[in-house]
């Protein structure tokens, strides 16, 4: 299995605050990899470093065989590495449809954008019903679906989702996870950042546990789900 993403010994500091120390992880082609950890463990910093929003002091990031450590965020998107940020960050004063179209900003071919928008509407009919509504009027779950749908328009080869289930009702969490599984079976690799370890380990193949900016544990989803540390810290008994 070839790796679509390789993060190698990355250090990130915000001023004097060390956020990541020697973080390494990989995502293989077609894999769903989960990144677990508590608030402030460095999960969001890790994905932001991969997507080019944050610059590492040390280490390299390689995506699809190319070094993207110093690449601009937009050139990273062009390569098919899409980051769905924490808190959804949809454009609340643009319509649902416009939000989706923006997801295809790097695509020059309008007919391709249109066909992908149709696919998203088929997969997530709630969005189709609300296409002319402003994004800000959607419920939390719908906004999350919109954020994921928007990322799909870009044609992701690797999609990174930062806490997609935060603040959602259990039923909606299940829907989000189903959608992620659907994206994966359509061919995209997934890096899933979660505090909700129970939900994440159900869809993930492998996982990493991040603590205070370091990778402290890694293994298959089954191994992690059995690990006493993980059970105690994230799953409860």
């Amino acid at each position: 299995m070839t790796n679509v993403l390789e993060v190698d010994a990355v250090d990130v500091a915000y001023g004097k605050v060390q956020a990541l120390t020697g973080v390494s992880l990989t995502v293989g082609e077609g894999e769903v990899v989960s990144l677990l950890g508590n608030n402030g463990a460095g999960k969001s910093t890790t994905v932001s470093t991969i997507s080019g929003l944050v610059r590492p002091q040390q280490g390299t990031v390689t995506a699809f065989g190319r070094d993207i450590t110093r690449a601009t965020p937009w050139s990273i998107v062009e390569q098919g590495l899409i980051h769905v940020p924490e808190g959804r960050r949809i454009f609340s004063r643009l319509t649902v449809h416009e939000n989706l179209l923006l997801g295809g900003y790097t695509i020059k071919d309008n007919s391709l954008i249109e066909s992908r928008v149709r696919e998203v509407y088929d997969l997530l009919p709630r969005l189709a019903d609300r296409r002319a509504q402003q994004g800000g009027t959607l419920s939390g779950g719908e906004q999350q679906m919109l954020a994921i749908g928007r990322a799909m328009i870009a044609g992701p080869r690797l999609i990174m989702l930062d806490e997609p289930t935060m603040g959602l009702a259990p039923l909606v969490v299940a829907q989000v996870m189903e959608t992620i599984a659907a994206i994966n079976s359509a061919g995209a690799s997934v890096l899933l950042i979660e505090q909700n370890a129970r939900a994440a380990l159900k869809v993930a193949h492998r996982g990493y546990v991040l603590d205070s900016g370091r990778v402290t544990l890694t293994g298959t989803a089954a191994e992690l789900a059995r690990d006493p540390q993980v059970v105690e810290a994230y799953l409860g008994k």
Partner: protein
């Protein structure tokens, strides 16, 4: 009745070129939340670029192509001021993108002075008479009078405004502009080259102001290096009346302001014109700071 109609026409004419300036003001504010105090000076620069081109090309004007020459000059002045706006953003504002708001504001005031006194060095501090004025043939409409050149300039302004509105509402670029005004960081994750879109916004806004500068030169018949100061404040007023950051609002606010000034002047005398405009600025800031078309946001958090 004739008199009232004349006042309306005058107000509309002044309103259209206030609108051209207000649009750039509002666009720049919308996208990077910067009150670009140098924007009025870009308008002034448009007047001077037009002045230079018309002086150099006066041979062609002797051939009688007054209005056509004016249109060509307007287009060239738009390109020139657009480029100046682009450079201004690149040199003065972009390095301060993550600096405190106040630093950028002060830089904008500095940029304004640099443009004003730069032009004063180049052209001298005295007013220059514009080589072309909008006298000439006129249409009489129910007793009111408007010149052909005024009509042509208004038509151009209206075309520019519709063009801009379509760009912002319907195109990929316009969508990116609106998105950046809401969340620039999220735009990066959509693959939007945010710097490029901001540059484009400055180019368009500055070009519109440049067009207005040429219109103003031809209408008032003279230009000077400080003419951008008051118009900058007027454009700001227009943008506030309409709802700052809102494209249609800027146009509406400018027309309202033009009409208010036209009627206010007729009522109290022309020395009260600016008092009138700025009294309305204060009124709006107090009573309705979001303006006539300001965003009434319904956001769930």
């Amino acid at each position: 009745m004739d008199y009232v109609l004349q006042l309306i026409l005058n107000g509309l004419f002044v309103g259209t070129f206030y609108a051209l300036v207000a649009l750039g003001y509002s666009m720049v504010y919308g996208i990077i939340k910067l009150l670009n105090f140098a924007h009025g000076d870009i308008y002034m620069l448009g007047g001077f670029v037009g002045f230079t081109l018309l002086t150099v090309g006066s041979g062609a004007l002797a051939g009688g192509g007054g209005i056509i020459a004016l249109v060509v000059v307007m287009a060239l002045a738009m390109v020139a001021t657009g480029l100046v706006g682009l450079v201004l953003e690149r040199v003065a504002y972009r390095p301060l993108r993550s600096a405190p708001r106040l630093s950028v504001l002060i830089t904008a005031v500095g940029a304004s002075f640099a443009l004003e006194y730069g032009v004063a060095v180049g052209y001298g501090p005295n007013p220059r008479a514009y080589p072309v004025t909008v006298g000439g043939g006129a249409v009489h409409l129910l007793g009111a009078r408007i010149t052909y050149a005024q009509l042509v300039m208004m038509a151009i302004a209206v075309i520019l405004m519709f063009g801009l509105d379509t760009l912002v509402r319907r195109t990929r670029s316009g969508r990116a502009m609106r998105a950046i005004s809401q969340d620039p960081r999220a735009c990066l994750l959509m693959g939007v080259n945010v710097d490029q879109v901001i540059s484009r916004t400055f180019f368009i806004g500055s070009a519109l102001a440049g067009a207005a500068g040429v219109m103003a030169g031809a209408y008032y018949g003279k230009i000077d290096f400080l003419m951008g100061f008051i118009i900058g404040l007027k454009a700001f007023t227009a943008a506030v009346i309409g709802g700052i950051g809102n494209i249609r609002g800027a146009v509406l606010g400018a027309i309202v302001l033009g009409l208010l000034e036209s009627f206010g002047t007729a009522w109290l005398g022309s020395q009260w014109r600016d008092v009138f405009a700025f009294a309305f600025l204060i009124l709006f800031l107090t009573v309705r700071p979001t303006g006539l078309l300001g965003e009434r946001v319904t956001e769930r958090v």
